[in-house]
Amino acid sequence: MSKRHDVKRYPGLNALNLAFFAYLYAPLAVVVAYSFNDNKIAGVWTHFSLKWYGSALNNPALMKALETSLIVAAVATVVATTIALMAALAIIRGRNVRYRRLSETIVNLPLLLPEIVLAVATLILFSLIGLQNGMVKLVIAHSAFCTPFAFLPIRARLQGMSLDFEEAATDLYASRWVTFRRVTLPLIFPGLFSGAMLAFLISMDDFITSNMLSSGGTTTLPVYIFSLIRAGTSPELNAIASLLILASLVLATTALLVAARGNRDRL
């Protein structure tokens, strides 16, 4: 059948798709392009310069915000992934689990509710119990909304996995713990890894909750960027944005590649 007469083809779709991918990437490209502008006024081009990258990297407030974000994201990722792994094992492997569906809904609840409602609700709770420590507040809230993002890939991996290998290990007199550590854990690692990666990215990306909960000393990166945007666009902000765009693209690619590999040698 010639392409012209292929009934599955619709006219103009090629052009539309090209336009769509341009639309997806052009805004990010614009930010990166503007970051190389020497002029102090971001919108007026003078000539190429890397000086805003230098001043971004030497900005102590930015580095402090980055540090806060990294600490919160790292702790929240460990907590969320651990809790998600336990919940997934219980839900998929547990026998006669009461409230199985309810438990699954509870774990996924942060995905269903508007984040701003959760953010202000948590703010009220923390102010009622008098919790002052900004880091602790952020870690608790971030762990909660990161858990479903860690849970879903782990659950998917566990569900598709056969029990044969674990049974073989048990037959060979491996203890329960050795079986888990040497057989189960390596088998679900791709799910675990992409879950943890997702949790980390979601935590790093969060603005709404962090903005509500952060106090003086615990400004996270998106909250700091928001304050910069409010102060007006600047080429330094564009340089910061470009560095972060690059970092997210690299991280996301790594996560997706690992996930794809995991799916290929799926058991």
């Binding site: 619709y10 805004p27 508007p114 409602v117 709404i208 998106p222």
Partner: protein, 311 residues
Amino acid sequence: MTDSAHHGPVTATAPRARAPGFWHNLAFWGLLPSWLLMGVALLLPILIIAAVSVATRGAYGGFEWGFDLSGYRQILFNEGWTGELEFTPQYLVIILRTLALAGVTTLICLAVAVPVAYHIACQPPRLKAALVYLITLPFWVSMILRVYAWMIILGRDGPLPRFLEFFGAHAGLSFMYNDGATLAAMVYTYMPLMVLPVFASIEKLDGTLIEAAHDLYGNRWVTLRRVILPLTAPGLISGAILVFVPSLGAVLEPSLMGGGKQMMMGSLIQLQFSGGRNWPFGAAIAMTLLVFVMIVLLLIARRATAKESTA
């Protein structure tokens, strides 16, 4: 390995050698941490915010416990000095704007996602995987940066005003701080959430059905309307939910693109809680938003169970 291990209850094939209590205990101890975390960080706060929405406004910000519907009343009425109620539409306008912008965002995403996803689904496997990856990728860039990119594009001296100036528009043009700007950022930030589920359901479509429709003298448009769209409806619906629900709670888009004036419910809630303004009123708006989301989710759940029982 046996194929049966994929399906059916996994628990049935669990090793017999293990103590019978182990898997029961595993279920309990495994789920305990998530129940604790979600209880403390989610369920308890929701109960408290429901209580705060009917509390009295504190004299110095915050609130005092009690039962008072003034938070909800304030959504529609303004209370005068002598206690008379005067209808003020300012917050109703914000609620309607929220619903309208979320709805229009969903429709635009849907209209773009269907042809794009269809086209991708028609590509050879390797190219298909690459294109899906390219759609997922920008989604991992921080939300705030994706909104910021649109501030640059639409703002004064941005690429779009410059482009139009080149064709004779007057200088100093800016498209910022209105509903259109908010909409542009919302469509951009939520688009991948629509394309992926729509793609997933179009990809599963049986190509022979399209050929069959053609053999029965259906042209492309009839095939689209009578075969492709009905068969992919579940994917379109889940994409619509994935876009509509977070759109209702949008905060960054209205507060950055809409300026201070063109608020949505999310940015209104945020405003009431930052700087110790009116907590009971903010909580009442939050509960209203929660109810909207719950209505959408319940409708979907009912649809899903109705399908299950007919199947």
